[in-house]
Symmetry: C2
Subunit: 211 residues, 2 copies
């Protein structure tokens, strides 16, 4: 009996990319330890042994998941922060858009719980996550905020505090959206655009842009 034909979607990406994308999804849903190579193979529509043709181990798959997207994400945020054709306060919502893309919507930031889960046994993941993602994002925003203050567009405010105010809200949102992913009212209670709007209010008030 012939093997049933695969769905077209499985051929949209070369196998290694498809594995990484599928693995990312599964790690997000059930964690690293909770995702078996068998489950990954099945979700990819290939046999388990074929995984080992592309990646030498499960850890290698994890590393590959963290190799993707950091640089692009950081560069998108940098571009928004350096839009010198705009005033600082006009750049603020653009920067915020990139922060939410990076952390909540499509982003690397959603992997934070997986980093927490694996940091004990695979510390390299946490190191890369910190060096290539977190530190970069913080630095870009710090420069942006300080320049805005020096230009007199933003009221002076503690840069460290501002940093927490910027990243805390979307990180909390991502975690809630992950914890309550199965709740039917998720999109109501934790709507990205709504929270982003409220977050912008917060930042504008802290930077003295109100009124």
């Amino acid at each position: 009996m012939a093997r049933p034909a695969r769905k077209d979607v499985e051929h949209l990406l070369p196998t290694p990319d498809r594995i990484v994308e599928t693995a990312t999804q599964l790690f997000l849903e059930t964690g690293y330890a909770g995702t078996s190579m068998s489950a990954l193979a099945k979700a990819c529509g290939i046999q388990k042994a074929s995984l080992y043709h592309h990646f030498e181990s499960k850890e290698a798959v994890l590393f590959a998941c963290f190799q993707t997207g950091f640089a692009e994400t950081v560069e998108r945020m940098r571009s928004a922060a350096e839009r010198t054709d705009l005033s600082f306060q006009d750049r603020l919502p653009l920067v915020l858009d990139e922060v939410y893309a990076a952390i909540v919507s499509s982003g690397a930031g959603r992997m934070a719980p997986v980093v927490a889960e694996t940091t004990g046994r695979i510390p390299e993941v946490a190191e890369r996550f910190n060096d290539e993602f977190i530190e970069e994002m913080h630095e870009i925003f710090e420069v942006f905020a300080r320049d805005g203050m020096e230009a007199g567009e933003f009221e002076p405010f503690d840069l460290g505090a501002l940093d927490h105010a910027l990243f805390g809200v979307p990180v909390n949102l991502t975690l809630c959206r992950s914890m309550f992913a199965k709740f039917p009212d998720l999109e109501e209670r934790y709507a990205v655009e709504t929270v982003k709007g409220q977050h912008l209010q917060i930042l504008r008030k802290l930077l003295g842009l109100q009124g």
Copy 2:
């Protein structure tokens, strides 16, 4: 040959409590799926089979970890928020102390990544976490903030936004402290008291208490 004497510390708590406490610690460090019953037994200083005398399954241990402390934590926050002998602005740091205790220092909030990891297969955990912890904390703060505004002590500000400003910062801090637990400079970069102080600045500014 005689079995080596146990350390005194293992006898400070009755066995079921010791199991729950040890399991909480292990779940925090290596996740639910990443923590085996053998590892738990060894960390408790008992045999694996003895675990099953006290808990009928691994899931039962997880539930027990989430049964502990929610009510007390919520009540401590409520007490702080309802200190009618103090002004609203004097209550604010006390409320913040309880929020940090609940989420960062000793708290139930540190289990959020475990909730995220298990919500797909064990949705009851996420439901309890939401109903008995998150929702309660939000409601207490919302009442506190609204009453403070109505009393004229706080400037009016969007309550939803304020909510994100309150919980985002400590949730982000907890997650960072979990991800970078092995970093030698953890206590420098992510010191609880420092962040709490910066967080208080943020809230005071949003509530119009500056100056």
